[in-house]
Amino acid sequence: MAAREGEPVLTRRTSFERVSDRELVIARTIDGPARIVFDAWTRPEHVRRWWAPQSLGGRMVSCDAEVRVGGRYRYVLEPGKGGRFAFSGEYTEITPPSRLVYTAFFEPTASGPMPGAAAVMVTVTFEERDGKTHIRSRELYPSKEVLDGALATGMERGVHVTMDQLDELVASLR
């Protein structure tokens, strides 16, 4: 569940929420001040150390980012099962250490965005409290269909269905 404003941020669990037809919110609290978390989130020498999920066999092939308004970034990954894919885009707003807005294109074979593909707008906010930083990444998709498609390729859940509800549901069926 995304933390609401004014609520203490206690969870260190990753939360996902499809907040509308076109929006997905991923949130997590990290133990550290916002200026460090913001740097870790943006600077390529840092990103290459956490973006690829190593425990799942993922590997970062390359990671370039020119962190300024109008600058571009491109992350190339090799998932455990072979093949390559990439994320790329452009920064449209940079307000260290609290807010970052960028476009994101998914490149399924790391050979550039698919022709006619529309960008996802990503807005990341970093809210510091008591030395911890709550990260909230809001992904705005060009249409409901694009988000549905993204979900179908292994992304998050449907509207109104919380992970806990599903957990419970699945447990009740065992």
Binding site: R12, R13, T14, F16, R18, I26, R28, I30, D31, G32, P33, I36, V37, D39, A40, W41, H46, R49, W50, W51, P53, Q54, S55, L56, G58, D148, G149, L151, A152, G154, M155, E156, R157, G158, V159, H160, V161, M163, L166, D167, L169, V170, S172, L173
Partner: protein, 112 residues
């Protein structure tokens, strides 16, 4: 899998799935409990069936609708995989931030 997400995304369909956790039920019973008319319920059940989330069990004169565990489990597995991806990332980010905090501290000491 998109179908399953879309199917559960509709609040009344989610209520039907929740109701069916208690066991298989006929259409009129589902409608009565959730205060939905029969055509509405039938339409929702058709969508849920197409998405692989419910199945029909003929019993005597009735058609009973029941949850299909496999469909729900597949959906759950998808979600778990994406959550795992972000969990793995955030765990690494957390480790990195701890290292950067330490480094900042020791750099600060050196400067003094």
């Amino acid at each position: 899998m998109t179908e399953a997400f879309a199917a559960l995304g509709e609040p009344n369909r989610y209520r039907i799935v929740e109701l069916l956790r208690g066991g298989p039920r006929p259409v009129n019973d589902i409608g009565g409990r959730l205060r939905l008319n029969q055509p509405q319920v039938s339409k929702h059940l058709r969508v849920l069936k197409q998405a692989g989330l419910v199945d029909v069990e003929p019993r005597a004169q009735q058609r009973l609708y029941a949850l299909r565990a496999q469909g729900l489990r597949q959906l759950h597995d998808w979600l778990e995989r994406y959550r795992e991806l972000w969990d793995a990332r955030f765990t690494q980010l957390d480790d990195l931030v701890q290292q950067l905090k330490q480094k900042e501290k020791s750099d600060g000491r050196k400067r003094r």
